[in-house]
Amino acid sequence: MRTLLLFVTALAVAACAPLPVSRDDSGAGAGGDETVSGPGSATAPGPAAVLLAQGRTQLAGGEYPAAAATLERALRIEPGDPWLWLELARVHHVSGDQRQAEAHARKAMSLAGGDRGVRDAAEKLLADIRRH
């Protein structure tokens, strides 16, 4: 029963629009009773989303180690969020470590479940990595 619910959440994720910042997707990695949007946090962006945004800003500013550190911080909170892994893959890609970039993109893919947005983004990044 528990395991079944996992597959059901995969469906729920698939139904979501690929909006990584506001989406609460830790449910994809949790048992059925794990609704994470805790009381009082319904409107505010979650901690991982805040850190993802910060990591993106750092990446855009060329602060690669800082961006990677911020995204790792986010991953400690939401290790099952494929968008975080994908962003970390981008950091590696831009900073020149194509091996880690590819591994992280694959990891994102492996967590994507039915999320087509992640899959497409990961595929695109993998194609970019291969062109390097």
Partner: protein, 782 residues
């Protein structure tokens, strides 16, 4: 001197000797006085020059400071009010009725108010702020700042674990001049050197007064040394009380006074002076002493605390507040009395302070208790990039992943478990040993480590150094190798039957099952969940022992084991750390993530130095790994690990594997949830049989530990490409429906079509589940 000697040699000794002899004859007494004066002058000049040069180039050795992981607070975090309060207390926060400064917190019905301290993390400073944390049930509901604005995430300053000090064991935390409480300065002057601001290094009146007081009381009540002399003594000289040394100290003190101003000397004194001892670690300076005795920063200390530290100057071991609390209290209150006499504090304040207890942080609360096993890993990880001297001197800050709460739980669970298992075991007179490592495998963070029964023992660390037969812990890798060929799935059946394997040396090997019976044709799902030996050996021989050996190395064993058939049942020695890597590769869906204790390092000035980034290496086929993991879930639901079920929260899905070596010498359990992975080993150091299986020994420790992690959630895996969920009959491996017999939902390759079970009627409920399965599976195939 050498120059003169040189000159003498070149021009011959005779002219100078003649001149000296002539002078001596003219006035022997005057000559001797002059000569003595010249020697003295030379001595004073040399000593002065020496002390000034040494002081000018002074650089305290500041051992690298090692920090635990910071607590990240955010809405939705599973953390209770009391857990936060405990965590704050451990970080040296003071519980107060109203928060007025950094490092304080207040607890109310459903909230904690606190003021965090400034802290420089690897990625920059985190300024201290006022936070109002509200709780609902076992979660953080909201966090607001002083202005009432919601705070999405707040990072507290981490607990300091200790220092990587060098051979001479001098440990200190430097404080800057502006971090020194004025009260400390005033108290030091009042008690130790009341004419500090006037004298020039020596205080003759002070010496006479001290002599008088000591004579009158017939004991050493006062020392006549000035602060400057004490500084010189501590910094340059050994502890011998000889006249020559006293004289040298006086000369050096005067020289320092001539060259430096009072503030500089006082600042040096505050960072230099010896204030305590913990084993081989010497506590130097008021900055470290404040943390060592109170778990708080110097700037946060109050009158009573400062009075105690000043009291310690006179004799840190005689007045050691942990060993001799009465003496320390008496001396502290004596100091308070002096402060009143010298009008440093008001009588009322002193009286209030004197009424207080010593307020020394206790062992359980003191996180600066040394963590030998974890520090061992920290040292090993840093050794590749930093030399010992750099770590002992340069004042680096080292940020690690240690989770103080999990570490405390791991220590307690192992200690309790070993006591219980020893008492119930084969030889109750002989204490069992054990080891625990806990990781957050997805990011490769080692968050807790216990190297043995004696947590404080700084020596043999079993997590890193005990190489023990891994037993059945290797079995999942046999199944992984089989699934990776594509010819086997969880539903494939194999004979669990007696077999005879011809070995290279001509012997025949006939492994038996633990329960000494064979179970006939069984699906791989059940063979792994029940840890059947004969089925596993048959499978491993079909796949190839050398393939299994290669996979073990790829997943985490440091060396590739020899490809003997007995490897299939775990005849390979591995450390708990290596097994954490192997199981981490499984938990991570086929990605090997190197384990790290250290995340990053910054310099004394806060400049980022090194970072140990998260790394991933794909080492196994994700689809094959997911099948293995599905069987590992069944280990706990139905197999050899099912006794864990009672110790885990009812809803928590976990995956794991028992391990037992031959003759019950080693008892292992390795397992993981969605966040945490833990490996537990129990046995005897000398390989004597422990009389425990994995299930009867290590498992109970593992389950009580992992079951207590508030932040652990159920293990799950989004189905890998090419897999779809199928209900299997656990006993036969035939495809079935939910609710029909003992049905287990597992991921199987989409092209595998296990035969259907017969004689089971599909109900409406099953149809509904099927529809959901189909939709879910369909979703992931898109």
């Amino acid at each position: 001197m050498t120059k003169a000697a040189h000159k003498n040699r070149s021009s011959g000794p005779l002219p100078v000797a003649g001149w000296l002899a002539a002078r001596f004859r003219r006035g022997p007494k005057r000559f001797i006085a002059l000569a003595l004066f010249a020697i003295l002058l030379a001595y004073v000049l040399v000593q002065s020059l020496y002390v000034i040069i040494a002081f000018e180039g002074r650089r305290w050795d500041i051992p690298a400071r090692v920090y635990a992981a910071p607590l990240e607070l955010y809405p939705g975090l599973r953390l209770t009010r009391d857990e936060l309060a405990a965590s704050l207390a451990q970080t040296g926060y003071k519980r107060v009725a109203g928060v007025s400064g950094p490092g304080q917190y207040r607890v109310a019905s459903d909230l904690v108010a606190l003021r965090t301290r400034d802290f420089r993390h690897w990625d920059g400073p985190e300024p201290g702020q006022q936070l109002l944390v509200r709780f609902e049930g076992d979660r953080v509901a909201s966090i607001r700042d002083a202005a009432g604005q919601p705070v999405p995430i707040a990072r507290l300053e981490p607990v300091r674990l200790g220092s990587l000090f060098a051979a001479h064991h001098e440990d200190r935390i430097l404080v800057a001049p502006d971090e020194i409480p004025p009260l400390l300065v005033a108290a030091l002057k009042a008690v130790e050197d009341r004419r500090f601001d006037e004298h020039s290094g020596l205080d003759l009146r002070g010496i006479l007064r001290a002599a008088f007081v000591n004579l009158r009381h017939r004991e050493i009540r006062q020392g006549g040394s000035t602060l400057t002399q004490q500084l010189v003594k501590s910094y340059f000289l050994d502890g011998r009380q000889t006249f020559r040394r006293k004289f040298r100290e006086a000369v050096m003190a005067v020289a320092l006074e001539l060259r430096y101003d009072k503030d500089e000397l006082l600042h040096a004194y505050i960072n230099e002076i010896y204030l305590g001892q913990q084993g081989a670690r010497a506590i130097h300076g008021f900055g470290l002493a404040s943390e060592f005795y109170f778990s708080r920063r110097l700037a946060e200390l109050e009158l009573a605390d400062i009075a105690l530290l000043v009291a310690l100057v006179n004799g840190p071991s005689w007045y050691d507040p942990r060993r001799h609390p009465e003496r320390a209290l008496e001396r502290r209150n004596f100091v308070l009395g002096i402060l009143v006499d010298r009008a440093v504090v008001s009588p009322a304040d002193a009286e209030a302070a004197a009424a207080r207890q010593l307020g020394i942080s206790t062992g359980s609360r003191l996180m600066s208790r040394y963590q030998p096993a974890y520090m061992d890993l920290v040292r090993r990880q840093l050794a590749a990039d930093y030399d010992a001297d750099e770590l002992a001197r340069e004042g680096l800050s080292i940020f690690t992943s240690l989770d103080p709460q999990v570490q405390a739980q791991a220590e307690r669970r192992l200690a309790d478990g070993l006591l219980r298992l020893t008492a119930a075991g084969r030889d109750p007179g002989r204490a069992l040993e054990g080891a625990v490592i806990v990781t957050r495998y997805q990011t490769g963070d080692v968050i807790a480590m216990v190297g043995g029964r004696d947590v404080e023992f700084d020596g043999f660390n079993r997590v890193l150094s005990a190489r023990r037969p891994a037993g059945s812990l290797v079995k999942p890798v046999v199944y992984l190798a089989a699934f990776e060929t594509g010819s086997w799935t969880l539903a494939s059946r194999i004979a669990d039957a007696p077999l005879a394997i011809e070995l290279e040396n001509g012997d025949t090997w006939s492994p038996a099952n633990f329960d000494a019976t064979s179970h006939g044709e069984v699906p791989l799902l059940r063979a792994l969940a029940e840890s059947y030996n004969q089925a596993t050996v048959a499978l491993g021989m079909a796949v190839g022992v050398d393939t299994v050996a290669r996979r073990l190395h790829a997943l985490g064993l440091r060396e590739q084991p020899a490809a003997n058939p007995s490897l299939l049942l775990g005849a390979v020695e591995a450390t708990p750390f290596e097994m954490a890597l192997v199981y981490g590769s499984l938990a991570n869906g086929g990605f090997r993530v190197p384990l790290r204790a250290v995340r990053s390092v910054i310099t004394e000035d806060g400049e980022p130095l090194g970072r140990y980034p998260l790394e991933l290496e794909p080492v196994a086929d994700p689809a094959a790994v997911q099948q293995v993991n599905a069987a590992l879930v069944q280990v706990i639901e139905r197999g050899t690990g099912r006794s864990a079920r009672n110790l885990l929260p009812r809803d928590l899905v976990a995956a794991g594997k028992t391990g037992t070596s031959s003759d019950l010498r080693d008892s292992w359990f390795a397992g993981f949830t969605n966040e945490h992975l833990a490996v537990v080993w129990v046995g005897h150091d000398d390989n004597a049989p422990a009389g425990l299986t994995g299930a009867s020994g290590a498992l109970s420790i593992w389950a009580s530990l992992v079951g207590g992690f508030a932040q652990s959630t159920s293990f799950s895996q989004a189905p890998a490409a090419g897999l779809e969920p199928v209900w299997l009959d656990y006993a036969t491996g035939l495809s079935t429906y939910n609710g029909c017999g003992d049905a287990v939902l597992v991921p199987l390759p989409a092209d595998s079509r296990p035969p259907r079970v017969t004689g089971c009627r599909r109900g409406l409920k099953e149809l509904r589940e099927r529809a959901r399965d189909w939709l879910g599976g369909n979703g992931q195939r898109q």
